[in-house]
Symmetry: C2
């Protein structure tokens, strides 16, 4: 582990001279997701197999070239998820094929222009194609799915065009190259799928379900935390600190968009598999993810209320009433979300009975709250500033309950 290239610089920097600490970190990364260790083994296996294959069989006698291509393909194409591997492999294969064909055409064309003009014509063609292709990489659609393909396209075209070989030679070379890439790519895809496959679709599913669970955890804990000070059911100091840090888990949800989009993109390359009998509905997951993030944003506002404790010390009857309703709403919506998350994780339809109970509960509570706010006249001496945090919390909780409903209908899709 100590001599793993430039990568270890960052490692050494971050672990100030303490090897034990470093080993602990390494262990933790492995324990966090044991699939990482398996993935490392898989890459190493694919690489060793392809290497040894070319080592023992100096095919076509141009070993350097052909073996190099295969090793390159394995190293570059093998991604953590099956979808990523497929996406890169297909991109690489198609781009090489197309660019090779175009390159041969360009060479053929340039051959007509005489010896002197040939390099100029070739240079011009490389320039134009490289400029146009690089520009297409800025198109959002292309960037998302075919970025790697365009890269390989530019590369292969330039290589073929400037190789200076005759057309027949190129055709032979291209033939070998394609077979090599096919062997490398096939080895990657086979190993990736057959040994403990990591499906991007499954990961996406788990990520979204995990996010919903984090929101649920916050909502369940929020009521007790916010109203615990003078008259709620408070815990000991240590358990409080613990619950506080568990409340912060929702923060990662806010920035989950990039990860989800990458996973959804990879998932769209994957064939149907496992428990996704039909093709993976990855677009729905993106929509669900957006809803979850909006809900997380509301929770961020709630969290601010939690941190700026400018609460009344003495509670009026009215105050206490609203509080109890808030606590109830918060826990009920949290429970409803939890039911959804568990149902998603086990891929069953949400056990509608349980969910409906919670949903009914929080709807009833929300209605009650609105009724109270709408009808009761305030005790004249009520201090609005003291009431305000509670009112804000109540209003945000009503928004959240709407948001929970949207999420649930989206999950049912």
């Amino acid at each position: 582990m100590e001599k793993t290239g430039p990568g270890s610089w960052g490692l050494i920097k971050s672990v100030p001279g303490n090897v034990v600490d470093g080993m602990k970190k390494v262990k933790k990364i492995g324990e966090d997701d044991p699939r990482r260790i398996v993935h490392s083994m898989k890459v190493a296996l694919a690489l060793t197999l392809v290497s040894l294959f070319y080592y023992f069989r100096p095919l076509y006698d141009g070993l350097g070239q052909a073996g190099m291509s295969a090793v390159l393909t394995v190293v570059v194409v093998f991604e953590f998820t099956v979808g990523g591997t497929l996406s890169k492999g297909i991109n690489r294969g198609c781009a090489t094929l197309l660019a090779g064909a175009l390159g041969v055409g360009a060479e053929y064309l340039a051959g007509f222009c005489g010896d002197k003009a040939e390099p100029l014509v070739l240079g011009l063609m490389v320039f134009c194609l490289a400029a146009a292709s690089t520009f297409t990489r800025f198109f959002p659609n292309v960037k998302k799915k075919y970025d790697y393909g365009v890269l390989i396209f530019i590369l292969t075209f330039s290589l073929v065009a400037i190789s200076g070989f005759r057309v027949t030679e190129i055709l032979e070379l291209a033939h070998h190259r394609l077979i090599t890439i096919l062997i490398g790519g096939a080895a990657c895809v086979m190993i990736s799928i057959s040994i403990c496959p990591v499906w991007a679709g499954q990961d996406l599913h788990d990520a979204v379900a995990g996010n919903i669970e984090k929101l649920a955890a916050f909502l369940e804990g929020f009521g007790g935390e916010f109203f615990s000070l003078p008259w709620g059911e408070s815990g000991t100091a240590s358990s409080k600190h613990e619950s506080k840090s568990s409340l912060e888990a929702y923060k990662t949800v806010l920035n989950s968009k990039a990860t989800e989009e990458v996973l959804a993109n990879f998932a769209s390359w994957e064939p149907s598999h496992g428990r996704f009998r039909f093709r993976h509905p990855w677009k729905k997951y993106l929509k669900l993810g957006t809803l979850v993030r909006e809900c997380a944003c509301l929770i961020e506002t709630l969290n601010r209320c939690l941190n700026s404790k400018s609460q009344a010390k003495v509670a009026s009857e009215f105050h206490v009433k609203i509080q109890q309703l808030c606590i109830k709403m918060s826990t009920e919506s949290g429970k409803a979300l939890k039911v959804l998350a568990t149902a998603m994780k086990s891929m069953t339809f949400p056990s509608s009975a349980v969910f409906e109970t919670h949903a009914k509960n929080y709807k009833a509570t929300a209605d009650e709250l609105e009724a109270i706010l709408g009808n009761s006249s305030l005790p004249t001496k009520a201090n609005l500033q003291e009431l305000m945090p509670v009112l804000v919390v109540a209003s945000v909780l009503i928004d959240i309950s709407n948001s929970v409903e949207q999420i649930s209908s989206s999950v049912h899709e």
Copy 2:
């Protein structure tokens, strides 16, 4: 543009058979950021120069191999920003050097083991090193800065180890290879820096300033929009629709984290340049970006209030008073943010006089608001439900003003 590889599939799909439409899109992408066109030209130029260099000078007579390396380096290393190009170039160079040395060592070691054991020993070494290196790619620090370097490390080591050449041959080959990569990398860096350089640091700076501006635009427009219905200064229907869409601009701020982190990473590779006389304080930008996103989250809550118009139709005196204060706070904090954004863009210190005025104004308004809420007893018949949206807005605006203060002190750093 029509034959640019597999990339065009996505294009064709997204442009349903309408070439004119497609051309318009292409034009728009170019107009949105003309540097994209320049970048495409720069890549093409570098590629053509390197290609022709190797075409005309079949150095070392192993043209195929050497030329290929140079072209590969250019295509893979040339990124949109200077920082990106430097990061990839340095990663590639160092990784090749290190892996080459280790590969020679491995070859040398395996030579001692006899002809039969050699491939086994080599295979084992490739397996171990590939597994270990792949695993380091999961370390957050390594993944962020050295991911590409580790990839090249695995690649080069495997290639050298299985090449089957004798040590002296490898040394010669490595020598040529390194020179080639140096030439390719140097061409990229030179062209990238000398012709219309795109500095990641500058981009990061502009992105953060632009985000602050978007928040400012929302806050300035919000007051008028929210309270415009019966008694505010409302505009015509068309101008209203327009202002609504301009209000939505803040939404992109919420998901800006990934972009900012990539830019900050690239910026950390850049030397001091242009108006950043000292090294780029990219860590501060990340902190500032987080503050801006938190503020955007609060604004998202405000926007929800805007969309769920459950406002009172008849306003009590108290109601109107709070409203006016809210409008004032919103516009003042918006103006303060705008001053900050403009100052950032022009790289001057915020003209403190102007900023201070706005800051004072909104602080005074916030205090006034708190005083009103704290002291005035409500008219007994006040309907709390009708008041609630206004109260929520007021409370969130107070939070926002705190947030604006944090941002401003962060900008001053």
